[in-house]
């Protein structure tokens, strides 16, 4: 076990997979000479050379097209978007090509591509850069959608993503890049998709989160524990596939659920989980499922308005108390 930062764990995963499989290559804006906007890809150009670490023009549709096409041809590209907000430029390549080609070719053509980059909301990055759009991809059949919370998961899930034959949407969180954690030394450490993990055991209320939402849940659970309220925290790890068995099992024990996410509330991951809880465990529920989510507005730039739009652990605390009212 080595302790490292979330972004180092991502770098390690890419390095290990590039060493393991010569078909793996990296492409994106400023991933090579500039060493990555967030320094995630630092040292990789030096290590693997310009054939495998490709600096692209500023054209997301170009990056996505290059990655999708080369994946169809048998390579395993890891394409970086500087942020997931910029991927909106590439929607046609992503949704209409990468996600569909396996189905449209009757399973003859695979598209083992990983699209990765920072998602989540930031600090005063305003409406066009501060948003979390995982539901867009989770809504589209054909993608797997991965959102790690810990460095170990960032490592193990990214390695699994690169090895997976489906197109994978790998959403990192810029706000987690600097967080530390232990990462297994094993170069074959992978984290299976669709296996949520219980980060904290509890009996009074189930908190469901992913990515930085888990942090909200853990802090809220800490606060509530001081008041004698015992919360169970589940980290989903992957949105598609979604491990509802773990959620349902927990809810059957606690009879209450709060879902915490940074993305907008309307038609979101939280909406889906709430609906599935009702489908799977309706007569276990002692209170309506609560959703803690971003305000349904384009992210304001002004600090005070931004604060009001981003959910916090105190919102989770309040939601838990509503389920216990």
């Amino acid at each position: 076990m080595a302790t490292m930062r979330y972004l180092q764990a991502i770098r390690l995963a890419i390095t290990e997979e590039m060493e393991r499989d010569p078909n793996v290559f990296l492409c994106g804006e400023d991933v090579g000479q500039y060493q990555g906007t967030y320094r995630v890809t630092e040292g990789l150009l030096q290590k693997f050379g310009p054939m495998r670490v490709v600096d692209t023009p500023i054209s997301e549709i170009g990056i996505a097209g290059l990655a999708t096409g080369s994946a169809m041809a048998g390579l395993r590209p890891v394409a970086e978007f500087m942020t997931w907000s910029f991927a909106l430029e590439a929607m046609d390549q992503l949704v209409n090509h990468a996600a569909k080609i396996t189905y449209m070719s009757g399973g003859r053509i695979h598209c083992p591509v990983v699209f990765r980059g920072p998602a989540g909301v930031g600090t005063q990055l305003s409406a066009q850069h501060s948003q979390s759009m995982e539901s867009w991809y989770a809504h589209t059949p054909g993608f797997k959608v991965v959102m790690p919370f810990t460095p170990a998961d960032a490592h193990g899930l990214l390695k699994q993503a690169i090895r997976d034959d489906s197109p994978v949407i790998f959403m990192e969180h810029a706000g987690l890049y600097g967080t530390h954690g232990e990462v297994p030394d094993d170069p074959d450490h992978v984290v299976e998709f669709g296996k949520a993990v219980v980060r904290r055991k509890g009996k009074d209320c189930t908190l469901v989160g992913y990515s930085r939402g888990v942090l909200m849940c853990l802090r809220a659970a800490e606060t509530l524990a001081a008041e004698g309220i015992d919360c169970e925290v589940i980290d989903l790890r992957t949105i598609v596939p979604l491990d509802m068995d773990t959620v349902a099992e927990s809810v059957c024990k606690t009879h209450r659920a709060v879902i915490a996410q940074e993305e907008w509330r309307n038609v979101s991951v939280g909406s889906e989980i709430a609906a599935r809880i009702y489908e799977m465990a309706f007569d276990q529920m002692d209170a309506p499922v609560e959703r803690v989510a971003g305000a349904d507005v384009p992210m304001p730039y002004a600090k005070n308005l931004e604060r009001a739009a981003i959910p916090t652990d105190s919102d989770v605390v309040a939601a838990v108390k509503r389920t216990l009212a």
């Binding site: 007569d283 276990q284 529920m285 002692d286 209170a287 009212a325």
Partner: protein, 419 residues
Amino acid sequence: MAEIRMPKMGDGMEEGTINVWLKKEGDSVTAGDPIAEVETDKANVEISAYESGTLTKIVVAEGQTVPVGAVIALVNEPGGTGKPAAGNGSAPAKQDVLPVSASASSQATGRAASAAPASTSTERVKASPLARRMMTEMNVDAMQVTGTGPGGRIVERDVAAFLTAKPAVGVTHPSSSTSQPVSQGTAGTDKGFVEIKPTRMRDAIARRTQQSMQQIPHFYTTMVIEMDRAVAMIKELNKDNPDGKVTVNDLLVKACAIAIQRVPEINSSWTADNTIRRYHSIHVGVAVGIDDGLIIPVIRDCGAKTLRQISTEAKTLIGKARAGSLKPDEFSGSTFSISNLGMMGVDQFTAIINTPEAAILAVGGVSREHVINADDTVRIASRMKVTLSADHRILDGVVSAKFLNELKKVLEAPFTVLS
């Protein structure tokens, strides 16, 4: 084949108990004929057939409780194709008529249970899915459980509390209207205890008073009223009309109506939508103590009625209340209530607001007291203490005081009510 269902008789009614069947299986019935007496939590009421034909099947046995809307009997219309359930018709009276057979009664329970969700009742009990499942599994009647969740929703802890509180008690309603000991316990040399299963009326009182005290911010204002002239006036009135005596209570009803006309804020409700509804008509409820409970018959439109009319109506209603034969519209819809314990030797007390009203007047007895006049001389007067319990969401102390002052004015100048 027409189905006769448990009718909804009054706003609060969720279920009813068949006290007695007035018709047997095989009897012919005409639309409008009383066929059974039903006990609700407020009164015993006769229900009538609304189809003519033959009563072919009694589905719910005497003593059984079913929700509103559940089928209680079947009537075969003349010319109908259904066969009488009691047999081939040659000896209908010989068949198991009363009480119905065990299979029939268990079928009745089944029907009642499955009919419950489809009940025509608009006051569906709010319960969380978990609580609902627990109640089904433990055979707990949701009406018996007090919900403490948001909006009065029954949640897990309420069912758990109910089950812990009543481990030895059956969860079905008693079939009789009197309290019954349901279990006894002893502990060591202690003489032990007896557990009483509450009657339906007791249940209703428990639920409504608890709800009122928990949800309405009560406050209380007390006023002393001199009653010499009022008592004298009533004496005079009764001398002229010994057959229909007017009581202090009748006078109070009329005096309250006049005071409400002058302070109409009293005649209001706080609605579920958080608005204040002010009523144009003054319907005064008069609390009547009866065996193991109380009921509040309503004298309607007291503003428009004379003291004599009110007195006559009150007598009829109180008589019916004691006999348990009030009809639902005779004990619902009041906009203000009076509870009088004066005749029981009570000096003064506070009453719990009869929801959804804004206030209730608690009346003590008239007693002869020394009163110190403004010039420090002493005289003796007949005095009565009344206490208004008011809903502070609607009324403030000043309004409450205004009302009591108007009431005092009327009662201390009692001929006002005759003018």
